[in-house]
């Protein structure tokens, strides 16, 4: 039992890194995702094609491969041009990769959220003399956010689990902590059970929170 508790506590030391990378990535993902969603609806064809290509590449390759490219490949490339470059911390490429991944997913969520808003809303806003972008900012996006908020929160839970691949690029998150302890103590089963429990400690309460919020919202909707 002592081993299991120790395994859990060691894994928990990775929680601050896992959570902060996830939070930064979800914010980055929401911001870039919104930009991608707006670009994917633009009239400009080349712009739409670039967005589509980016999304296809990000969603069509494993995040681990992207992380290796970003953390090591990119450094090699820049150094091969004779520029002295090193990531100050691997947390930076790790967060970028998670954020870009998240953006590709969220752009689709945001796009469908925007499309779910009745087109009469845009017409009403434009008929008051608002420009397209003003109407998006003041009328469409605030309404779309309510539709997509649960998907955002779910994406956060997904990110917490996906950041586990970042141990492979030297980020001391939950899984990495467990692996290091396993390597020095050979207590393999307690080490990884501890890792699993540390993830559950984060994801279960979060999922419960989201479900509670969704139930509250649907009750509120039903009341009207």
């Amino acid at each position: 039992m002592q081993d299991y508790i120790q395994g859990f506590l060691i894994a928990c030391k990775g929680i601050p890194v896992t959570v902060s990378v996830s939070i930064m990535a979800v914010i980055l993902g929401a911001a870039i995702g919104l930009l991608l969603a707006l670009c994917s609806q633009a009239k400009n064809r080349p712009l739409r094609a670039v967005v589509r290509l980016f999304i296809d590449i990000v969603r069509g390759t494993p995040m681990l491969v992207q992380a290796l490219i970003m953390a090591y490949g990119l450094v090699w490339l820049i150094q091969s041009k004779g520029v002295d470059f090193k990531w100050p911390s691997f947390i930076i490429p790790a967060t970028l990769v998670c954020g870009l991944n998240s953006a590709a997913y969220m752009s689709e969520v945001i796009r469908s959220g925007i499309e779910a808003i009745d087109k009469g809303q845009m017409e009403a806003a434009r008929s008051l003399g608002m420009t397209h972008s003003m109407a998006m900012r003041l009328v469409i996006i605030p309404q779309a956010i309510r539709v997509i908020l649960p998907a955002f929160a779910n994406e956060f839970v997904t990110l917490i689990k996906e950041t586990s691949v970042l141990g492979y690029v030297g980020v001391a998150e939950i899984l990495r902590r467990g692996q290091l302890w396993n390597a020095s103590s050979y207590k393999t089963f307690p080490a990884f059970i501890g890792v699993a429990c540390a993830y559950l400690l984060l994801t279960v309460p979060l999922s419960k929170l989201i479900n509670g919020y969704q139930k509250k919202m649907s009750k509120k909707e039903a009341a009207h």
């Binding site: 009745d118 009469g120 809303q121 017409e123 009403a124 806003a125 434009r126 008929s127 008051l128 003399g129 608002m130 420009t131 003003m134 003041l138 009328v139 605030p142 309404q143 309510r146 009207h224």
Partner: protein, 238 residues
């Protein structure tokens, strides 16, 4: 003054408007009647370019309306929709102040004072802080009229403003529109309310198959219709 010249609109192979000419003078009320699919809503929506015309020109006070000046023109042209289209995430008061504050740059305070006056005018002063979903259809449409008026428009466009309402709520909306007409607002109204068209309009046009088939004073149209399609239409709706 609104002047429509040889207005045409097609959706692919479907020719909805086949050449419309019309003049609406300041202070005039024009009612557009006709069967569903006759192009009357499309004509209205072309005037403020919610639909882009396929051909022809539209002038407001002698100025040609184009893709470039449309945002500016729309501030002078209020629009009321069949399905109200109030902003559900904003209170009634905010629905009225949003345009003046964000588009015309009015101060929040003066926009609010004006909005309260307008709500009083449509009989909904006590609903200022409610959200649209808590209002009946008739109340929502009165708020939508007030929202359009908050921009101080020169002309008001109404696209079947009572068609989505329960019958007992039609009267309250028509009353607001009648008061507006009596105050001298220039209005273009697409409507199925023949009683309203007869009582309020200065000019009525009957649209059919993308053309103005007959036009004239309400008396001409309702008491002495000449076109057989209009006679047939009136016999069905009156």
């Amino acid at each position: 003054m609104i002047e429509v010249k040889n207005l045409k609109k097609s959706f692919g192979d479907l020719h909805v408007l086949k050449g419309i000419d019309q003049l609406v003078n300041d202070g005039e009320v024009l009612c557009i009647i006709g069967a569903s699919g006759s192009g009357k809503s499309t004509m209205l929506r072309c005037i403020n370019r919610l639909e882009e015309p396929t051909g022809g020109e539209i002038y407001i006070d002698g100025e040609l309306i184009t893709e470039q000046n449309i945002d500016k023109v729309r501030t002078r042209m209020g629009m009321v929709f069949q399905s109200f289209n109030l902003f559900p995430h904003k209170s009634v008061l905010e629905n009225l102040t949003m345009g003046p504050v964000n588009v015309k740059g009015e101060s929040a305070d003066s926009a609010k004072q004006k909005a309260l006056k307008l709500l009083d005018r449509v009989g909904l002063a006590e609903k200022a802080n409610e959200y649209p979903r808590n209002l009946s259809g008739g109340q929502q449409q009165r708020v939508a009229i007030a929202r359009a008026l908050a921009m101080d428009p020169d002309v008001m466009l109404f696209d079947e403003p009572t068609s989505a309402l329960d019958p007992e709520m039609v009267g309250e909306v028509l009353d607001v529109m009648k008061a507006l007409a009596k105050e001298g607002m220039t209005m273009i109204v697409v409507t199925h309310e023949m009683g309203f068209a007869r009582e309020i309009s200065d000019h009525v046009i009957f649209m059919d198959e993308g053309y103005i088939k007959e036009e004239g004073t309400p008396k001409d149209i309702f008491e002495n219709p000449k076109d057989p399609r209009l006679q047939d239409f009136l016999s069905k709706v009156l």
